[in-house]
């Protein structure tokens, strides 16, 4: 079987803590988002927006939009990891996809697409990426361009046949 995370960037790895699970011992939906937020922090570290990069540039990333697909339940104590693909960028926005896997089985647990915007913390207002950060992003974009698009990217939520407006 081919490795589903080949070529992606591992942005977080850890164990599911007792305070993140529900009465059934399964990860609560809000805490999937916590893991994905940690993964965004990991991505920021690798594009020069870690703690020192933020201090130097005065910039940070803000999540405008996030879409989560929950596919499998995740038990307390499981070791999981997030692998991240850059789907696109412009001068100040970044579209990414985080995939949550169980570490031991390459089992796909959940996916999270995010739209991030670069902000100048002095405002805060949106502003173009600094040249050094943009260069790091573009290296990842070119590395990830040939990878297949994640199955759940670009989805919207609806019941079959549901229409609004």
């Amino acid at each position: 079987m081919s490795n589903p995370v080949a070529g992606l960037l591992m942005t977080w790895r850890g164990r599911v803590l007792p305070e993140w699970v529900d009465y059934n011992g399964h990860l609560r939906d809000a805490f999937y988002m916590l893991l994905f937020s940690y993964a965004t922090d990991g991505l920021m570290d690798s594009i020069g927006l870690g703690e020192s990069g933020r201090a130097t540039t005065g910039h940070s990333l803000f999540t405008l939009e996030a879409h989560i697909n929950y596919l499998k339940e995740v038990r307390e104590g499981a070791t999981v990891e997030v692998h991240t693909q850059i789907l696109g960028c412009d001068s100040k926005r970044l579209r990414i996809y985080h995939s949550l896997y169980r570490s031991d089985a390459q089992l796909f647990l959940a996916g999270n697409e995010q739209m991030l915007v670069n902000v100048d913390m002095a405002g805060p207002f949106s502003t173009p990426f600094s040249p050094a950060v943009l260069e790091c992003i573009q290296v990842l974009v070119s590395r990830h361009r040939s990878l297949p698009s994640p199955e759940h990217a670009g989805r919207h939520i609806a019941l079959p046949g549901e229409r609004h407006g």
């Binding site: 009465y23 996030a66 412009d90």
Partner: protein, 199 residues
């Protein structure tokens, strides 16, 4: 926004079987008796809270995962409104699971500020509920964030979707009818996309 290194632990209700687990504010309170003659609010206003200090990051703003935590508490209030509580889960072995979520973060909010939640039922069938949470600032009325979710009714033991019991589905359809005249929020049905991709 950075995820703060926090686990949203403060003010958690303690479960004696799972002492570290974080409960919801309504846990153990049962469901609200259903009155078929009572008018149904459109949208439903079932939950308000203050931003807890455990929810904010180093900048003093609420962390993004805690928006979803608050929407989860709003869902719990909705579940109890339609009759789903611990007794329903334990005796019937059935519950509602979230299969998909779409969040829009519109404004930041700080420690101690009041939040007021609404919930709109966009659509439903026997197995599924399509819901929309809106989070407003309790004083200014500013829309802070929205959360759109697809929930499925599941038999937890079998791990598969099942129809809701008739009385539950009837309540859901009564809410659906009451919410049918509401405008569809502009965030609904949105797919994430970027118009230009760097060369």
């Amino acid at each position: 926004m950075l995820a703060a290194t926090l686990h949203c632990l403060v003010n958690a209700m303690v479960d004696t079987r799972q002492p570290d687990r974080l409960g919801t504010p309504l846990e153990g309170t049962g469901h609200v008796p259903w009155d078929p003659l009572a008018p149904i609010a459109a949208p439903l206003c079932l939950h308000q809270t203050l931003v807890k200090s455990a929810w904010v990051d180093y900048n003093g703003h609420m962390s993004e995962s805690c928006y979803l935590l608050v929407f989860g508490d709003n869902s719990d209030a909705f579940f109890r409104f339609i009759g789903i509580d611990e007794e329903y889960r334990d005796s019937g072995g059935q519950s509602l699971y979230t299969v998909e979520t779409h969040l829009h973060n519109l404004r930041e909010v700080s420690d101690g500020e009041p939040l007021r939640l609404t919930l709109q039922l966009l659509d439903a069938d026997e197995k599924r509920l399509h819901i929309f949470h809106a989070m407003y600032h309790g004083e200014s009325g500013d829309l802070l964030a929205t959360g759109e979710q697809m929930l499925v009714h599941v038999n937890m033991q079998a791990g598969r979707t099942v129809d809701m019991p008739a009385d539950l589905f009837q309540r859901v359809m009564a809410i659906r009818a009451a919410h049918a005249r509401l405008p569809v929020p502009r965030q609904v049905g949105h797919a994430i996309g970027i118009r230009r991709v760097a060369p």
